[in-house]
Assembly symmetry: C2
Homo-oligomer: 316 residues x 2
């Protein structure tokens, strides 16, 4: 049997046919065009699902279930998106709409949660009973898997690792609080600090790499500059790693997963990031002499959304 995984984003909807092992057989995407009524968006989603099934030379009868990873909070029982800020959706009956067109079980969960499930089933966390996948992008996302199942708490609002508060009264967050982890350890934070530092230090490599065009500074520019030893960039990177390590120490002290995978765009910095992070966590772990979570890089990249959503039908 096969599973459909859908990665619902603010810009695109991606869908794929996935096998038992979490391998994508076919995949495709279509623009979300989020300003349409949700019924139209979900009609496009259903069409896309039927297309990838056909592309795989399969029929609906070969498919066990449809899984959807959505931003925000979902009600798994009702099959609804309860609230998704960047879709501007409130209480959207996703399952009901999709089942108008396709008669299959429909599962839904948070996008970062299903990305964590993907890593647990077919990626970096395969073979571990519990894991936390931390996605470093515009924000910081969290996907928790416990005993092989996605975990987002009793009300579905958990696993928001990026909104754990690591610095009371720290930097203001988009969520209204101050000092959330994602204000210090996201791509956004690296870019912001990179811009500030480049303005203040035109001799820095960050400034040179963008030929003085501050707006071109990306997380990659900052990290690459740090890799090359630029003092300004190293300072920013070290602070980024320090806060991320403190967030991970809190995750370990609270949840103690078997393994923690670092994903998202920033994780492309690879070993440079991972080595620095592991060292910092090791320096600050609570029980110094006892085993704790392995820390590694996520493996599935953007495919994690489709794979994890598909695997909801396997593990639930």
């Amino acid at each position: 049997m096969y599973y459909i995984g859908v990665d619902l984003g603010g810009t695109n909807i991606a869908a794929g046919v996935v096998d038992e092992k979490g391998t994508i057989i076919t995949k495709d995407e279509t623009p979300t065009l989020i300003n349409r009524p949700y019924g139209e968006v979900l009609k496009s989603m259903a069409d896309l699902i039927l297309k990838v099934i056909k592309d795989a030379s399969l029929t609906v009868d070969d498919i066990k279930s449809i899984g959807i990873g959505s931003p925000g909070v979902s009600d798994k029982n009702e099959g609804t998106v309860v609230f998704a800020n960047n879709l501007n959706w409130h209480h959207v009956p996703v399952r009901k709409e999709i089942q108008k067109y396709i008669d299959l079980p429909v599962y839904i969960d948070n996008d970062a949660t299903v990305a964590g499930l993907a890593e647990a089933v077919a990626g970096a966390c395969k073979g571990y009973d519990s894991s936390v996948t931390i996605t470093l992008g515009t924000g910081v996302g969290g996907g928790i898997v416990i005993n092989g199942k996605p975990f987002s708490g009793s009300h579905g609002v958990g696993s928001e690792i990026g909104h754990m508060i690591v610095h009371v009264d720290g930097i203001e967050c988009t969520c209204g609080n101050k000092g959330c982890l994602e204000r210090y350890s996201s791509a956004t934070a690296l870019i912001l600090e990179g811009k500030k530092a480049a303005k203040a230090n035109p001799e820095s490599l960050i400034y040179k790499k963008v030929d003085g065009d501050i707006e071109k500074i990306t997380a990659k520019v900052v990290i690459d500059s740090a890799k090359e030893g630029d003092e300004t960039a190293v300072k920013i990177f070290d602070n980024f790693i320090y806060y991320l390590a403190m967030g991970i120490v809190s995750v370990i002290n609270a949840i103690d997963p078997a393994i923690i995978a670092i994903g998202g765009g920033v994780s492309k910095a690879g070993g440079f990031l991972l080595d620095a992070l592991k060292k910092k966590v090791e320096d600050h772990i609570f029980y110094k002499d006892l085993p704790y979570a392995e820390i590694c890089l996520a493996e599935l990249g953007n495919d994690a959304g489709i794979i994890g959503a598909a695997m909801l039908g396997k593990v639930l």
Copy 2:
């Protein structure tokens, strides 16, 4: 059938016979005398267990299992205390030692974790599938229950809520890190801040309540002064609540339990503490319009240790 629960502390060992519902039938305690070899401590524990069984007019045949709540980290499979700082125990084979004297299954878990289990089975969190019990005492302890079972992670080092970092580079903690929750929201923190403030403000009620004998300042003195509206004490109490609320927001954002119970000595402040805490959490919760954990006072007090340890044999 009945269960034995043992609360192993640095000063005393308490043991009780507990019924299916988590009610203590008989209980007693004996000094730990922790400087003895562990074999002697555990012989005393076995003697105490046999005594409380006899006190209940039962025999070993009426008992299903023995559960032990220990400080530090335990290996549940091996039945050992892996590391407990305030017992100075490393890899102590508790199960094996107890079974020399009593032929029953022996379970072992962290003391704060079993206190959380007690609240889940027979106290404030009864009827909820997941809960976090936060114990405000000398430190800040955490007991996580998920799907009715005690949760302390993959390596048994989780649920250390007091060592979640809420203020990177904040106040130094006994664990070697800086900014752990328990540095701001324990009885110890209240006492420390109370002493500092009383010294600086001899006109404060805190100072008056101890007749100027700073060393007599307790958490209760500070909270009682705050209750009576003393400006100095209110400031300390508000800061205490603020940090605790931020820690709880992090717990909700990460774990999203159905209910959070506040226990430990400081929780005797009752509604005064609870109301302030709930208000602060409400102001800072991530998803403002969605349901999140109920927050309440723990109910079982010191008995939680015995009851929760006993219930290990019921839920595992």
